[in-house]
Amino acid sequence: MIFNGSYRGSSFWEMLQVDASHLLPDFTALAGDGSVQIPHGTTVLAFKYNDGVLVAGDRLATEGHRVASRDVQKVFATDKYSLMAISGAAGPCIEMARILSVELEHYEKIEGERLEIEGKANKLSQMIRQNLPAAMQGLVVVPLFAGYDLRRRTGRIWKFDITGGRYEETDFEATGSGGLYAHESLKKTWRSDLSKSEALRAAVGALADASDEDRATGGIDLTRRIFPIVKFCSEQGMEDGSNEEMESAYLKILERRANGNGGARA
């Protein structure tokens, strides 16, 4: 197996292509004419706050009009200082996040040092580009990538298109079916100097707005106690947002709506 391989570089992804192509995911054979329903993820967002960057995503995956999963994970730590949030065809997206995290760890072990955040984003862009044939058949992978830049000492955010085009965002970004609503919500609540708890409230507000307008976005499910995934990434590394704080932020939003401040009421 790998001991007889011919690849000598430091990329896991390239090594699979050269020496273990049977392990590479290839989705091009799956025609996307709608006859095959596969789970899709919906709203994810990322924005900068005081200490770094926050990335959040709801938990719902849908197959057409059907719920595929209520507690799917769309935000992944790809290493100690970077995150990937996925929306689109869930299978290829999750696989790409998995390969990217192996890729980053592999590079670090082979080379003895981590990639710069820019290098990580560039690698992801190459992987998305190679998925282009599958994307043309409807298996679109358009993640958000974010992380903490240890050299510039700031959070950084990138979005991508299906051709692997890589666009750095200065402040905030949201994608997926409810991304537009989350984006507009953040436009009102985001400031450049949000504290950590303010950031969490802004994220909950944006996801609540998205799930209110977009039926495929899950929001917060207080009955089943399913909360969005929120991750903070700063110089200290990665940290999860607290469910209790999300709950109290969400209850405030519900109270506002109940008092007639959130649109139509019977």
Binding site: M1, I2, F3, G5, Y7, R8, F12, M15, L16, A20, L23, R98, I99, V102, E105, H106, K109, I110, G112
Partner: protein, 232 residues
């Protein structure tokens, strides 16, 4: 056409072994040592070319001999482990499988090629209390001819093995605290040199597989951290 001289297989093997042994003995020693919190790897190495490396969550590597050759083996190990962990699960990557793969690869070169690999490697795997049946540590040594052995407590490769091992045989105890085991590691390495002065933290390379850590258990100690341990 002239006929090549006949050389007996015994003679070929003996010559190759002699060649490899000489190459390895010229270098410095590395010690692997079980301590109360995991496994310590300590090497005499004043250069920035590392002899110790992380392979996977619970597995680390140490190599002596020709740098280009054992570093190639280290990279092969990382490729083997990452591929296996990607194809199956992280828990399926085991030190024994890797040590066996090394043994076969190194042994193959020894029998087939004219020049044997001038290397000797250690593969260590730290035990995991959360993983039934895998609580114990493992230490494997693979020699230049592919000979593989497993060790408990400690293991020495490279340089003046007998003298270094002598110190450990006399003074090693189970479940020593980290600081004490680093001191013992240095003392044993001192014995392998001319013994006139103790090695400084600047000329030691120290890595741990710390069983108390989550996920990837490998850590490299900086010279300052090592100095702190030696002074304590």
């Amino acid at each position: 056409m002239s006929m090549p001289f006949y050389v007996s297989p015994e003679q070929v093997m003996a010559d190759k072994a002699e060649y490899a042994r000489k190459g390895i003995a010229r270098g410095k020693s590395i010690v692997a040592l079980e301590y109360e919190g995991g496994i310590l790897l300590i090497a005499e190495n004043a250069t920035s070319l590392q002899k110790l490396g992380e392979i996977y969550d619970r597995i680390a590597f140490a190599g002596v001999g020709k740098f280009s050759e054992f570093d190639q083996l280290r990279k092969l190990g990382v490729r083997y482990a990452d591929t296996k962990g990607y194809a199956y699960s992280r828990e399926d990557v085991r030190g024994k499988g890797l040590a066996n793969a090394y043994s076969q690869a190194v042994g193959d070169v020894f029998t087939r090629e004219i020049k044997p690999l001038e290397v000797e490697v250690i593969v260590v795997e730290v035990g995991d209390d959360q993983f039934p049946g895998h609580e114990k540590h493992s230490i494997y040594r693979v020699k230049f001819d592919g000979f593989i052995s497993d060790h408990s407590g400690f293991c020495v490769i490279g340089g003046n093995v007998d003298d270094v091992q002598g110190v450990l045989e006399n003074e090693y105890r189970k479940d020593m605290p980290l600081g004490e085991s680093i001191l013992l590691g240095r003392k044993s390495l001192d014995q392998g040199t001319d013994g006139s002065a103790s090695l400084t933290s600047e000329s030691l390379e120290v890595c741990l597989l710390d069983r108390t850590r989550q996920g990837r258990k490998f850590t490299r100690l900086s010279a300052d951290e090592v100095q702190g341990m030696l002074d304590a």
